[in-house]
């Protein structure tokens, strides 16, 4: 990981961390506990695994913040669908939604995780293989 030498770069890092924290708090406050837990799980895995890859700290934090924003809005939309669907379709919808919600919730995690890999530089070995 390249060191962040300049003050603006450090400040930007702090800003991105604040975005991540705000997303988790907003998910807990305005959506539900499950959404906040999903974001926390995503953040933990991302920090432990993705931060081991090459790339600047700000790039990693930027992708992490973007992931949290996507997750927050995804959960907000699904929460709205659940409320409206429950009112409109009744108990059947609620039952089905209870089953599939965790799976649907993880769709954004898996997709974002895969896409975020393209934001980081490829390892030298992969580049060499691609050239050959």
């Amino acid at each position: 990981m390249k060191r962040l030498r300049t003050v603006p770069a450090r400040l930007f890092s702090v800003l991105l961390l604040v975005v991540v924290a705000l997303c988790v708090v907003a998910a807990f406050r305005f959506v539900n506990f499950e959404s906040a837990a999903t974001l926390l799980l995503f953040d933990s895995f991302f920090v432990l695994l993705m931060f081991e890859l090459k790339g600047t700290l700000n790039r990693k934090l930027g992708v992490l913040a973007a992931g949290n924003l996507v997750g927050l809005f995804w959960n907000l939309i699904f929460c709205s669908i659940a409320m409206d669907g429950g009112r409109f379709f009744g108990e059947t919808f609620n039952g089905l939604f209870a089953i599939f919600r965790p799976f649907l919730n993880f769709l954004w995690v898996i997709t974002f995780w895969s896409l975020s890999l393209s934001a980081f530089p490829k390892p030298e070995r992969a580049q060499a293989e691609a050239k050959n």
Partner: protein, 360 residues
């Protein structure tokens, strides 16, 4: 009473999936850390070790690919006076034997063992044992006929045997026809996950990398002591992996020793191959689980990883059970406990999708 039983079964099934999730995480984290550290560290020192090597190539109706592999054998950079290649023509009904004979006439280090239709065709393990009896060489390597190894693969594989406690080595399989279709891309993903994550992590953590039946080899003395390949099991490679480890020998994974393969390219062949692997793996599970638990040679972490590896093909059944029990309990809100745990099912399911791969 029924509710309590259902809750317990669901909890156990979910817990076992979470264990595999944790294992995946540990393996991935280990490999990422290792990759980071090896880029900083100097390259590993080269060990000058050149034992005599026997390469076994079991082949049955492989006329389309056997020539390519034998040509590659000719191009190997390992000293030919220390190399013997034995093609086991296992009752082929096509031109496999004739092509191999042509190479044997041209190159003294290539031998062909013809097994007629009566003796041959009894499986890969039987062909390997026949080849083992006919070949000479301190180290016995094996390649499938449809594979194409690197020219310097023998040097890379035998280097591990410089350590007398190493009984077997395993190289890496790379899918050559990855862009062909969805099946080949899926197989390539399995191979990458299996070799570059699991096998590498096992090697780094001093666990037991799995011998995959090809692109690897054994010390002849060990093979003879173990009685060669077991002809009664469908997964003779997994069986030999555990017999080697239980005999007190290490297995090393050499990621740099690459061999290229044409992966299966249709769902029917894919399903057939995986079914055979799963069945063989379950046989090994029943045969070796208790021995792994009892073994005094294995450390606790090796026992845990070994048991997880042996039971891996039971996990789809476990996942199905957890799903079938969980759905009615969640829909009809019969159990708050299962409702709370339901969240963990997709996490675990996602993590253990890779368990369908042979090395996960």
């Amino acid at each position: 009473m029924i509710l309590e039983v259902a809750e317990t079964v669901f909890a156990l099934a979910t817990a076992s999936m979470v264990v595999y999730l944790i294992r995946h995480f540990v393996f991935t984290f280990t490999v990422l850390r290792r990759a980071k550290n090896t880029t900083k560290a100097a390259s590993a020192e080269h060990v000058a070790f050149e034992p005599t090597v026997a390469i076994l190539i079991p082949a049955r109706d492989e006329e389309n690919v056997i020539g390519r592999l034998l040509q590659r054998m000719v191009e190997l950079t390992y000293p030919k006076d220390k190399l013997q290649v034995t093609v086991v023509n296992d009752g082929s009904s096509d031109n496999t034997g004739r092509i191999a004979d042509e190479y044997a006439k041209q190159y003294a280090f290539i031998k062909v063992l013809h097994r007629d239709r009566r003796d041959g065709g009894k499986g890969k393990a039987a062909a390997m044992n026949a080849g083992l009896r006919q070949s000479i060489g301190e180290i016995v390597l094996c390649f499938d006929a449809d594979y194409c190894p690197q020219r310097e693969i023998v040097e890379k594989l035998v280097e591990g045997f410089a350590d007398p406690t190493v009984g077997a080595v395993q190289g890496r399989v790379v899918v050559l026809n990855e862009p062909q279709n969805t099946v080949t891309r899926l197989v390539a993903l399995e191979r990458i996950g299996g070799y570059r994550v699991d096998q590498e992590a096992r090697d780094t953590l001093s666990l037991t990398p799995q011998f995959g039946g090809t692109v690897g080899g054994f010390r002849r003395s060990l093979l003879e002591r173990l009685g060669g390949w077991d002809e009664s099991t469908l997964a003779e490679d997994t069986d030999l992996t555990f017999r080697t480890r239980l005999a007190g020998y290490k297995i090393r994974y050499v990621g740099g020793a690459e061999c290229y393969e044409e992966a299966v390219d249709n769902w029917k062949a894919y399903r057939k191959q995986r079914y055979r692997w799963a069945l063989g793996h379950m046989q090994c599970c029943l045969r070796h689980s208790w021995k792994v638990i009892k073994s005094k040679r294995l450390k606790m972490k090796e026992k845990v990883d070994g048991l997880l590896l042996l039971h891996v093909y039971f996990m789809p059944i476990v996942a199905l059970v957890s799903f079938l029990i969980g759905v009615p309990l969640v829909v009809f809100k019969l159990s708050e406990f299962v409702g709370a745990l339901w969240f963990s099912v997709p996490v675990s399911l996602y993590s253990f999708v890779g368990n369908f791969a042979p090395f996960f």
